[in-house]
């Protein structure tokens, strides 16, 4: 930039454009006012129309749920009793119960949690806190999100090949739990990473500024702050595992079990499989039992989800920035 106006360099740099700005102003002299067509009534009407259509969409979704609950309750509620929960299945529909399935579901869920939670949270911490931003990491990022969308039957095939056959676990509780762990790992990883992302960078910097190592920072500040989000992600993914049927059918969970599994190598069944089995029988009495089983399963799932919401609310109130 030339320095011909006797200005200091910085002056000409910063104020030198003023002449040009005046030149542009001249070109922008105001023209006559344009005509406007507000079409206000049409805009107000279309806004209302939109509101009604979104309301209808909500109604439709809820109506389907209410219809489901109503028909299930009408069919199965009277079949529900303490005996139903504490009896093994039977070939006589009136005596059949869900003891084996309920305990199987409980064992399977706990075992799945024991496998999937440490691995999932560990992977999330690595990807979010340690891994450098490389091409490889971005590739892993995308594929974990993709894995969350893989149909569960595919995980069933994988479990059958990997755990039942290759690892020689057989059609056992441990094979089921390992398969379920694969299924929910992507969900746990994605939700735990989201929870870690919400922890403000300022907290990490404060800790590093005091001479903390990465692990000290993560353990003392980042993980506690992210815990509510991580927990609710875990619980929601476990509730998905409780409801899954296809992968367990694939690896060959039993549909008739008159005993409880006593070790990791024992055969097992779960609620959804028991329900599926009953609903495929020709006798109406078994359909009623299936409906009662669905009520128990739904109650279980709603309880678990409510727990997740409670946890989130409790900790969110505690941690505010």
């Amino acid at each position: 930039m030339s320095n011909t106006h006797g200005m200091t360099p910085i002056n000409s740099a910063i104020f030198g454009g003023s002449l040009r700005i005046q030149g542009e102003k001249k070109a922008l002299t105001y023209q006559a006012r344009a005509t406007w067509q507000p079409r206000h009534r049409w805009r107000a009407f279309s806004s209302k129309l939109f509101k009604i259509s979104t309301f209808l969409a909500t109604l439709l979704a809820i109506a389907a749920l209410i219809y489901l609950l109503h028909s299930i309750a009408g069919q199965g509620l009277e079949r529900l009793s303490w005996d139903f929960i504490t009896s093994f299945p039977s070939r006589f529909a009136a005596k059949a119960g869900i003891k084996a399935a309920l305990w199987g579901s409980a064992y399977l869920t706990l075992l799945t949690a024991a496998i999937a939670v440490p691995i999932g949270v560990g992977a999330a911490v690595y990807l979010e806190e340690f891994a450098a931003d490389s091409k490889l990491r971005r590739f892993v990022d995308i594929n974990i999100a993709n894995l969350a969308g893989v149909p569960s039957i595919v995980y069933g095939m994988l479990g059958l090949m990997l755990f039942v056959r290759l690892c020689n676990f057989g059609r056992s509780l441990i094979a089921g739990a390992a398969t379920m762990s694969l299924l929910i790992l992507p969900i746990i990883i994605v939700s735990a990473r989201e929870a870690l992302k919400t922890v403000p960078m300022g907290i990490r910097h404060a800790a590093f500024g005091l001479g903390a190592t990465k692990w000290q920072t993560i353990r003392a500040h980042v993980l506690p702050a992210a815990l509510p989000g991580i927990l609710s992600g875990i619980i929601l993914s476990l509730s998905r595992a409780v409801g899954e049927t296809a992968p367990l059918l694939m690896i060959g969970a039993l549909s008739y079990m008159a005993f409880l599994p006593e070790s990791l190598q024992d055969a097992f069944t779960v609620l959804p499989i028991q329900i599926f089995n009953w609903s495929t029988r020709p006798q109406d009495e078994f359909h009623v039992a299936a409906a009662a089983g669905i009520i128990v399963l739904l109650a279980l799932l709603l309880t678990v989800n409510a727990l997740a919401i409670l946890l989130r609310m409790r900790y969110q109130r505690k941690a505010q920035w």
């Binding site: 930039m1 910097h205 800790a207």
Partner: protein
């Protein structure tokens, strides 16, 4: 882009000993260079203010002094910063040990979401402090001019304090480590004038024991608290010298224009 013929920067060599020596530091974010061939000597037990317009690289320079730039993925630092005679970017330098000696106070108050007590004690406890914690808490809070306000409620959350108190808690947290140098990145920019005044008075007392480097947007603040002032523009150090000299008889036209408020 402004291209001006600035001539040689007006540099000044304060007398040793130095707490930090910055030699030919360059910091790049990807392809853009934030700090260019910068040299600066920070004498012990003084307050050095870094001033300059937004985006001139002063915060980047500050963060390169205790390797906080390590956490900015794209940042690449070349050159050396000498601390206690050794290069903090050297091969066997450990940034964790370094940050234990060179503390930091950030622009936005960032107390841990735990009790006031734990805010003070956490740093010392992970670094193997062997002394009495109650004494440490009291002396740190007293030196940060916060003790009288929080003495009865050390168990309460640090986040329950006001913004100015939170920032003094962050200063107390840094003091508790008994560092050699404290780096401050616009510590008063989020605070009201009353809290700012308290922190400025505090700085003047702290330099008895620590060396302080402070980035500030507020030229009056630089003038009130600092012994030396470094003026930066577009990543370069334009002028460095005793604060009175920089503000009253600047050697560079650019410095004069900035400190007289003609741009910024």
């Amino acid at each position: 882009m402004v291209t001006t013929n600035r001539g040689q920067p007006a540099l000044f060599e304060p007398s040793p000993p130095y707490a930090l020596e910055v030699n030919d530091i360059n910091v790049c974010y990807g392809t853009s260079r934030a700090v260019l061939d910068l040299n600066l000597k920070v004498p012990e037990h003084t307050i050095v203010a870094l001033i300059g317009p937004s985006g001139c690289g002063k915060s980047t320079l500050l963060r390169s002094m205790n390797r906080m730039n390590d956490f900015v993925t794209a940042a690449k630092v070349t050159g050396e910063v000498l601390f206690r005679g050794s290069n903090i970017y050297g091969k066997d330098a450990d940034p964790v040990l370094l940050r234990r000696q060179i503390g930091m106070v950030f622009q936005k108050p960032n107390p841990f979401p735990t009790s006031i007590r734990k805010n003070i004690t956490w740093g010392p406890s992970i670094n193997g402090y062997q002394g009495n914690y109650d004494e440490l808490i009291e002396s740190s809070l007293r030196r940060a001019a916060l003790w009288d306000e929080v003495a009865g409620k050390l168990g309460e959350s640090g986040l329950a304090l006001s913004g100015g108190q939170q920032q003094r808690l962050c200063i107390a947290r840094a003091i508790a480590m008994d560092p050699d140098v404290i780096l401050m990145d616009e510590p008063c920019s989020a605070l009201d004038p009353g809290s700012t005044l308290k922190i400025e008075n505090l700085l003047l007392e702290l330099k008895e024991r620590f060396t302080i480097v402070i980035v500030t947007h507020n030229m009056q603040q630089a003038r009130r608290v600092s012994d030396y002032t470094a003026f930066m523009y577009q990543g370069e150090l334009i002028e460095f010298g005793p604060t009175d000299g920089v503000f009253e008889t600047p050697k560079q036209d650019l410095t004069r224009d900035y400190v007289s408020g003609r741009f910024g």
